[in-house]
């Protein structure tokens, strides 16, 4: 189906998936890390964690 252009089309899709996947993973990891950090520091100060 892709014929002689497979060498251009497939990398375009693979790189797009990798970059978007990396952006999503990094965003979620940052959110998780800083949320946990806030909870930890609030507990150290003897406070109820802020919702949400």
């Amino acid at each position: 189906m892709l014929g002689k252009y497979a060498g251009y089309v497939i990398p375009a899709y693979v790189i797009s998936a990798l970059v978007i996947g990396a952006l999503a993973a990094d965003s979620l990891a940052r959110a998780r890390r800083w949320r946990a950090e806030v909870k930890k520091r609030e507990q150290l100060l003897g406070r109820e964690p802020d919702a949400p």
Binding site: A6, Y8, V9, A12, Y13, I15, A24, E37, P52
Partner: protein, 238 residues
């Protein structure tokens, strides 16, 4: 609405459910758009390389849209001195840089078989590269200044300067003779694309935009927590 969302508590409550909803909608629309796009027939001139359009055009659109979000947030941060606006600007930059880089790479992969070159110093390509460099400059400037308030201010000014490039990117194919194809969707008389390409492209564009919205909200939330953690560390040290 912007005033209402400027309250961090309200923003956090709203974004908590909105981010996953936007993310799920992006995945659903992207799956349908990708399915339709990959089943589209080869173009009579460009052959199967036309399939690159479904990942290249949405990435290029988001590179510009994310910069508009970054510059808009930077403006609100500078004028109203609101930390949430600065957090929004900071959160938009890595996402916009990622999508602009994708537009450059996928464009290069499309250009090689069609133009016979991986890169040409064409007005559209060059202005898109400058857009990417503004993102990199913004991120580098933020990282170089330790004082959070000074970093917000300096990076916001740079972001506003870079906004001048947005119309240049968009109209580069109109203002100059360009190897890059001209406007073909929002043109007088209707889109020049056949429906078999237009619908998957529209769905992919919408999916990318919603996906950006979801990731932007997640990153703003992370930035709000990062600043909160910093404030708590200061309180603990007293």
């Amino acid at each position: 609405m912007i005033t209402a969302l400027a309250n961090p508590q309200r923003f956090m409550a709203l974004s908590r459910w909105l981010a996953p909803v936007l993310g799920a909608a992006a995945v659903a629309l992207g799956s349908v758009g990708l399915g339709m796009g990959l089943n589209a027939p080869p173009d009579y001139q460009q052959g199967a390389t036309v399939l690159i359009m479904f990942v290249h055009v949405p990435a290029a659109w988001l590179g510009m849209f994310a910069y508009a979000c970054l510059a808009g947030s930077a403006f609100f941060g500078l004028v109203f001195r609101h930390s949430l606006a600065d957090a929004a600007a900071r959160a938009a930059a890595p996402l916009g840089a990622g999508f602009t880089l994708l537009a450059l790479i996928t464009g290069s992969l499309w250009g090689r078989p069609m133009w016979g070159a991986w890169w040409v110093w064409d007005a559209r390509l060059t202005s898109e590269l400058i857009l990417f460099l503004f993102y990199v400059g913004y991120l580098a400037l933020r990282a170089a200044i330790d004082d959070e308030a000074k970093a917000d201010r300096a990076a916001s000014i740079l972001a506003l300067v870079g906004a001048v490039n947005l119309p240049i990117v968009h109209y580069s194919v109109v203002w100059w003779n360009s190897l890059h194809q001209g406007e073909s969707i929002f043109v007088k008389g209707g889109p020049l694309l056949a429906a078999v390409y237009l619908w998957p492209l529209a769905l992919m564009g919408l999916a990318y935009t919603l996906g950006f919205g979801a990731l932007w909200l997640v990153r703003i939330r992370a930035e709000v927590w990062r600043r909160r953690a910093g404030a708590l560390a200061v309180q603990a040290a007293r």
